[in-house]
Symmetry: C2
Subunit: 230 residues, 2 copies
């Protein structure tokens, strides 16, 4: 497997490129509109053909590159079932597996940041957590049908049951920590360690965060697959 | 081996944490003063003891965390031979190997960005190139005894002779590409592909870049091991 994190400094978003060296097929997870030209160049230089763009969820902080990527390549846009993105080519249900060449990408329902958020387990080793589990943190739960109780359940009952050595690859990181592992997060994530479900809900409901700068633009654009004028 | 890139967004600097899971020993390469608290927390949470801080060169764009790390831990500060950092505990010559537990870190002389710049080959798989070879770029050569001809020789004759699958881990990246490989850079690095040594020198000498914002502060501080008041 070819696995490559790509970073958008303006929104601190990680896009993940997954490529099968044998078949030359590739997927991009959580692409960013402003980085599409870079991503296409990387794909080209690695000799890969983009088959899929995947979204962990309908983002509120950036516009997906999926629309532009679909215009410029033959890829399919894949979103979580229930994400209300009618223009998508495919949806993924909980536990469904999408194959990128010989590489399995398993969808794991992790609602809480949004109601249809999915985490993707790539090749059983790399966990693309989007805005569910972050490194020593987690996604916010105060808009887009967010629900802190559901997020707690998803992280504790689904993600923390994966092998400890599973590599955690978040959708964002604001402290320059690019990777973590399930073992580390179980032991050191300050939002989850020594907190009951009720305490986590109370903590999350008290965060009182400002809205993301791009939310008014990003959510409707992402519900339209990030489509932009040709 | 535990290998973890850590990013400083302000200066786009990558620090690399190298840990031996069996002995619990660790090294930090090109640490950043402002990120020392984060780095110490990561080391602690991973159960690692810092043995060494290494510098690829005397940085002009950030102050090393080595001084603060030496104050707060029992680590040794290691710099390239010839770097004129008299306070360092150890120096590394070309081809010398430093062991971090059972993990070998081999120094490879790559002058050009500065006259004593070293690249570190970790465990024969990960190449920490500092400001010599960057992803689809290279370090500048217009101050601190920089020399574009020497940089060309170092990259082409030393680094490009390593196996193609060697992972390139640069000291900086400004486009969000975190990793590359020697094979990719040989094929796609626009500063080196299809340029003779003379053309490379001419190109580099014509860049006419502004000085790094922190140069007046960073170089003398780094020559003093980044020492700060206790």
């Amino acid at each position: 497997m070819l696995f490559r994190p790509l970073f958008d400094p303006e929104t601190s978003t990680y896009t993940y490129l997954i490529g099968d060296r044998t078949t030359g097929e590739a997927a991009l997870v959580d692409s960013v509109l402003e980085q599409v030209d870079r991503d296409l160049q990387v794909l080209s230089e690695l000799g890969l053909t983009l088959r899929y763009t995947l979204e962990t969820h309908v983002h509120a902080d950036h516009v997906t590159g999926a629309g532009k990527l679909r215009q410029q390549t033959q890829c399919d846009g894949v979103v979580p079932a229930g994400a209300m993105v009618e223009c998508a080519d495919q949806t993924l249900q909980d536990n469904e597996v999408l194959m990128v060449g010989t590489i399995p990408i398993q969808a794991i329902a992790t609602p809480g940041h949004t109601d249809s958020h999915m985490t993707f387990l790539v090749d059983q080793t790399h966990l693309l957590t989007g805005d569910s589990l972050l490194i020593r943190g987690c996604g916010r739960t105060d808009f887009q049908s967010g629900d802190p109780g559901l997020l707690f359940d998803a992280i504790v009952n689904r993600l923390f049951n994966l092998p400890e050595e599973t590599v955690v690859c978040p959708g964002h990181d604001y402290r320059g920590q690019i990777f973590s592992t399930i073992g580390e997060e179980k032991r050191w994530n300050p939002r989850l360690v020594n907190r009951t479900r009720a305490q986590f809900i109370e903590f999350m409901n008290g965060l009182n965060l400002p809205d993301p700068k791009k939310i008014a633009e990003a959510v409707p654009a992402n519900q339209q697959c990030g489509q932009v004028a040709a």
